[in-house]
Amino acid sequence: MRDRLTTIWTLLSINIRERLMYRGDFAFATLVRFLPLVTQIFLWAAIFRVGTATATGKIQGYAYGDMIAYFLLANVGRAFSSMPGLASGIAKEIREGSIKRFLTQPVDLLDFYFYARMAHKLVYYVVAFGPFALVFWLCREFFPPLPDYWTMAGFGLSLVFAFLIGFFTESLIGLIAFWFLEVGSLIFIFMMLNYFLSGHMIPLDFLKDRMPYAVDLLIDYLPFQYLAYFPSAVWLGRYNHTELARHLVAAFLWVLALWAINRLALARGLRRYSAYGG
């Protein structure tokens, strides 16, 4: 167990050190991610000015302040669930043959990527904490009072599940490269669906019962909602304790299912792997 923990720590630390190697690019990339956040706040302000007759008017049950609070919390969820470069990175390793190090050395490909991603996230949170805190403080008036402890714990769990579901969905897309080699289009489709169905673009309440039934089914029965909407909705108190527990169990089952599918895809993929690239 101690050996395993040491290996995990080494994987984490080497990934952190690699992440910090290009300081300029990393700091810039981290800070630039806040630009869309700020532009979205202004965009919603404009939408509410046009779409409502009064400053306190609502769209689909959301006042301007509710929308900003939702949107900022959804971005916290995204900070856990988004995995830039993961699927394309795995696909590249398969296509170019560098995946062979995971087959010849005693280290598991998914474990390796998992800890690498965890390291990237840890570094990101440290760097992003300040700017995030500043935006939240500036928008503090839009947030409801702090929820009860159960809800706060549920929020914490929802972020963990957002990370795990985000990781396993993207790694699964990467593993599809064992069959298709090139998964660029698949990643693009996934990103589009993710943006729409995770609640990153607009709250999912805007879509429910107002879109074709098929879209409702997609929202309800696919795991996208756990990537952004769910953590935000938990903090904003949109679920009672029973609903919260039901959703947490569903998210956990999704994690298990995606983990199992990843393991299956990896095992099957390795059987058909041809060790391309010399």
Partner: protein
């Protein structure tokens, strides 16, 4: 004691045959033709513990595919193989701890970090005790003369320095079997020599079992006593390296130095002139006629110095492959005629 035991190992791939041109690309969207490529066909050999064996063959002969099978990277279509008692493609952790694969064209070190960081990661994943790890890093960096470079980012190292770091990473866990695929590809002469010397010393001291593929015959001659030659997926020769020239070279080279400053006329009747730098000349003569030719030249001309050389290993192997391809082409042509 046998370290590597390969019996009737075969691997075939199904590959897409793309039609030429834009229209070919469009039709390829709807219908694809595939063909089966037999990369390795019923290959069998055994390698004893502590042996260093060269695996030779032209590009596409099946060398790297065989190495990939032995490293467990790919599954065979048929046949069996064990390395240190393990079936490679089962990819057992116990097996992975006992061998290493180094591919000259692939970088396994972390590109942006110093090699020391990659070594440290290897220490953890191979569970190398701290004291042994320190000793190994010290020994290997000293032997390969890279002690001062260990804390420099890998991307800043030259190709030769990088390859030496790759070797250290591969040997840190003291593998019993080392699979080397073109370890000196692209290296300058000095780096090649360093890698060769290191491999020779290390292999002898440790009794490591090594399979080496290389297009550089100097590597092979410097390191291996036994060679397995593979072409079109089949083993063509398995035995002492020295036998290759005897077996596959049909000619020898007679080097003559004549008295005076000129080369006499009419030497073509004895054999083909390979090189002429008056008063020296090199004649290519069929092996069976060497004695007879020498006697004739010495009786007719005033010769100051004479030497008989085997053809270089590289040429002997090239000749063997050419003969083999011509024989295959003739066989295929006969088959199509009779059809």
């Amino acid at each position: 004691m046998i370290a590597i035991d390969v019996r009737n190992l075969a691997k075939s791939y199904r590959v897409f045959r793309k039609r030429e041109g834009l229209w070919g690309s469009v039709t390829g969207l709807f219908h694809r033709d595939y063909k089966t490529v037999e990369a390795v066909r019923s290959v069998s050999f055994q390698i004893e513990r502590g042996e260093m064996v060269a695996f030779l063959g032209p590009n596409g002969a099946g060398k790297t595919t065989t190495l990939k099978l032995l490293a467990g990277l790919i599954y065979p279509t048929s046949g069996e193989a064990t390395v240190l008692g393990h079936v490679p493609w089962k990819r057992e952790i116990a097996y992975r701890r006992q061998f290493a694969l180094v591919m000259g064209q692939k970088n396994q070190l972390w590109w942006d970090l110093p090699a020391r960081e990659s070594f440290r990661l290897h220490k953890e994943i191979y569970r190398i005790p701290a004291d042994r790890y320190d000793r190994r890093v010290g020994e290997l960096t000293e032997l390969l003369e890279v002690t001062k470079l260990i804390d420099q980012p890998v991307r800043e190292l030259s190709l030769g320095e990088r390859m030496r770091m790759e070797l250290i990473a591969a040997l840190l866990h003291e593998p019993e079997v080392l699979l080397l695929d073109e370890p000196t590809i692209g290296l300058d002469v000095v780096s090649q020599r360093r890698v060769q010397e290191f491999l020779r010393t290390y292999q002898r001291e440790r009794g490591l079992t090594v399979i080496l593929t290389s297009h550089y015959m100097k590597d092979v001659e410097a390191l291996c006593e036994r060679a397995i030659i593979i072409n079109e997926g089949e083993i063509k020769h398995d035995g002492p390296l020295a036998d290759i020239v005897d077996r596959f070279s049909t000619h020898k080279v007679i080097e003559l130095q004549f008295a005076g400053t000129e080369v006499p006329a009419g030497l073509e009747e004895f054999g083909s002139i390979v090189e002429s730098q008056p008063p020296r000349v090199k004649l290519r003569v069929p092996k069976a006629r060497v004695a007879e030719t020498l006697a004739a030249v010495l009786s007719r001309h005033n010769v100051e110095d004479v030497g008989v050389q085997d053809r270089p290993l590289e040429e002997a192997i090239a000749e063997m492959f050419t003969q083999h391809s011509q024989a295959n082409a003739a066989k295929q042509s006969d088959q199509s005629d009779s059809a």
